[in-house]
Amino acid sequence: MTAALPLVVGGPLLAAVLAVLVPGAMVRRVLALAVPAAVGAGGVALVAATRDGDVVATQVAGWLPGVAIAFAADTLSALMLVVSALLVLAATVFAVAAGEDDDPWFVPLVLMLSAGVYGAYLTADLFNLFVMIEIALLPSYVLLSRTGTPQAIRAGRLYLAVNLTASTILLAGVGLVYATAGTVNLAELAGAAAATPVAVATGVVVVALSVKAALVPVHGWLPATYPATSPAVTALFSGLLTKIGVYGLVRVLTVMVEPTAGLRLAVVAVMLATMVIGVLGALGEPTMRGVLAFHMVSQVGYILVGVVLAGAVGLSAVVFYLVHHTVVKTSLFLSVGVVEVRRRTGRIADLGGVATQHRWVALAFLLAAMSLVGLPPLSGFWAKLGVLRAGLLDGQVAVVVVALVVSVGTLMSMLKLGVGVFWGSPPPSGQATTDPADAPQPGGGRQAGPWSAALVLPGGVLALASLAVGLAPDWLLALSDAAGAALADPSAYVEAVLRP
């Protein structure tokens, strides 16, 4: 088990090479579906192995601990591995059904991206985190601009510029951490930020990761770039790339930093601003994916506010919300993507009454939207309850009030989206405001064959998963509590990484 951890990264990379070398769409499809499924199965085994607080760690190529690149999986890493494998699978099924894999480069790029994502969740080394983020980013640059519309190329340039800057800052930060602390191994850096020079270097790393996670005030790139590409690619990115930034922030803030009162205040202020600005931006967006992209910004505030609240309880809320949000957000993007692929437009003003023809998509959207808002009996209810509980336990009334108000805002914008697209009346024809260059879809999706029905499936399955967790949350709550306890006291992580 431990020696197989690097395979989680090596396997998808090898599969990407195979997908390039071996001709035939069937081979690519088999690889694209089998590899995430295998990684997901491995992730489930890892969750089972780590649920009691054990940490599965290995030193790559057998070098000595402290010198080697270490891969370590605790409960949070294992959970994120399972969730991201599931999402890659769902987004790939959607992409195949939308006709994206007619391009022979799509599957290798997605496999490479997923390799970087899995590696980022498993690595115990800051520089390796940077490398894994780069491995995930390079295919994303290509995937974002692949559709070739002027909009996509413009968005691609912005995405490229922002992410290259953030990567440069991250690398500089890692270099500064090495200069001040003498190591980049996360286990050896435990608590290192107590010394001021290391704290400054950690601050640089945190800024870079915040850009990747799209926190306020560096969130602007997300709503400007994600809606400009194809729906399948947006759904793929939504569950993977920003979550690496969020995970990195959680890891750095829990292992390296002991929160002081000043840091707590700063983090809470940034997260509250993120929640508010995200939902305000969502209320004004004219496209479906623009609304959802702003919601991504807002929800990251919910996820990360628990990092500095109430110790293990807050961290448990962080983990639960992270898992819930990743699933629900991807489900929303997939459901909205069905509409966009079939109707060839993403503007809310040009859509309406879609539910008459796409009943199941409307239902999936309804479930996922209610989960995002936090209504019972869906997983979002338990997630928000966890955040509110952590805020109350820590005495931060502002967190509770803002969280509730922003939930109302989320409800309003989801209503606007749902009514405007699914349940309202169709717009009068001839009033279409769609610029033909704004429709990036390849061809309306596959219209025939077994894959045409598969367009609806991924979003629906994920929405049902949210419902299932909402009805029976105990297993996920228990796992989140275990993960939160492990994050609050990283000594097991440190010990597992450093033992020979």
Partner: protein, 112 residues
């Protein structure tokens, strides 16, 4: 000291180029920023107080340069190289108008 000054000059030049119009200047800006960060990594290894690595018949291992930051720099150079190749490919694909800095930025004329 020279490393610090070099990093400062490179970062200043890189950020200046990043803010210019034209894709080629963006690429050059990132290349310079990448070089600057590589120098930061080298400095992180204590370049000012250590000898060059593995040079000379009498090798004092304690004073020889730290190999780990040099490994970091190698990795970073390779990554920057790959990204630069991709960026230059983008320029080649976009055609000459994207590198023309005298034309007004086309994106400003687009509808939101």
């Amino acid at each position: 000291m020279t490393l610090a000054i070099a990093v400062g000059v490179l970062v200043a030049a890189g950020v200046f180029l990043l803010t210019r119009r034209g894709l080629l200047r963006l690429v050059l800006g990132f290349v310079l920023l990448g070089h600057a960060v590589n120098l930061v990594l080298l400095a992180a290894g204590g370049a000012s107080r250590r000898d060059p690595a593995l040079i000379g018949p009498e090798l004092d291992l304690q004073a020889a340069a730290d190999p780990l930051p040099q490994a970091f720099v190698l990795t970073a150079i390779v990554i920057t190289f790959g990204v630069t190749v991709y960026l230059l490919g983008l320029i080649a694909r976009s055609g000459p108008e994207s590198t023309d800095a005298s034309r007004p930025d086309a994106s400003r004329d687009e509808q939101p």
